[in-house]
Symmetry: C2
Subunit: 206 residues, 2 copies
Amino acid sequence: MIKQKGILFVLSGPSGVGKGTVRKALFEKDTALQYSISMTTRPIRPGEQEGVDYFYRSKDTFEAMIGDNQLLEHAEYVGNYYGTPRDYVEKTLDEGKDVFLEIEVQGALQVKANFPEGVFIFLSPPSLEELKNRIINRGTETEALVMNRLKAAKDEIELMDAYDYVVVNDKVDHAVEKVQAIVKSEHCKRERVASAYKKLLEVSQS
Amino acid sequence: MIKQKGILFVLSGPSGVGKGTVRKALFEKDTALQYSISMTTRPIRPGEQEGVDYFYRSKDTFEAMIGDNQLLEHAEYVGNYYGTPRDYVEKTLDEGKDVFLEIEVQGALQVKANFPEGVFIFLSPPSLEELKNRIINRGTETEALVMNRLKAAKDEIELMDAYDYVVVNDKVDHAVEKVQAIVKSEHCKRERVASAYKKLLEVSQS
């Protein structure tokens, strides 16, 4: 039986932009996405479940996995490791399910290096949109303030360049709709559809 | 004043696939898209308006425009020319409006050659989806029938290769939702957003 493979979607952006809020609102509306389960070295807490909240591993195991490039990204936080296991992501994608990962910019860049076939979405603060209007209507602001804004905007544009999509988080609902549109349209990409059919035709002739 | 440029969307696919039905249903839901107005040499009819139903031009003018590469595509039908004027499309895009063109496969390939920055959507018959199941469950069909299906599927996959997206027209509503998702997500493409901001920053510093 042949299924279309799932797609790894990575939602990232500057801290404070509202990634968690958008992700939660998205998962309330969209039940077909599988949220990526992280691996950690921190001890399991009461009420948590292995493979549901986290995959719990020893520090030795985790470090061995880092050495074997078995994590799409990892970071240390308050003395514990956290990371995204490649094996879990690939197995889920092979089952035809999309995996959704919400992560800081540094983590996203690690995923991009290790799994470039993912789809990378940059959640942008609304100020970038506002900036447009402010610069256009300037004269009401000091030049120093405008220069600061320009500098901040330039830094963000440079961050964006590693991503496939930019979603402005002006309103959570709008941002969620855009992420849903990206998920839907990525499944219609000709490369994916045509290669699935090509594979199908090969199989059927063997 | 700086606006994001519009995008040219081209919906095409084999004849009989339901392009017109999908386009009509899309325009009932989506009023932000501008349907591409064609140019023709056929005489204007009572009730029609220049620049609304068609742009009406003489055969000489039309042929001069063909010679000047001023048409994104053109064809002859029952002794009259029909075509898509480049100038009209570019002006509409510059105003920040998306242009939507529904057209036969041959016309779409001409547009692709003349305007590769368009977004090309292949509307695929549901039989391609069905084919998957039929081939998987075969044994209930003669081998000749299966081979015919394979041949037809291969021809369609080759046609697809010029397109950016493939939308299966299994149900009109589903197809419309997918086209709308493509329109929305294309506006979030990083290349477009980042280049708009880069342009903005250049302008604001001059």
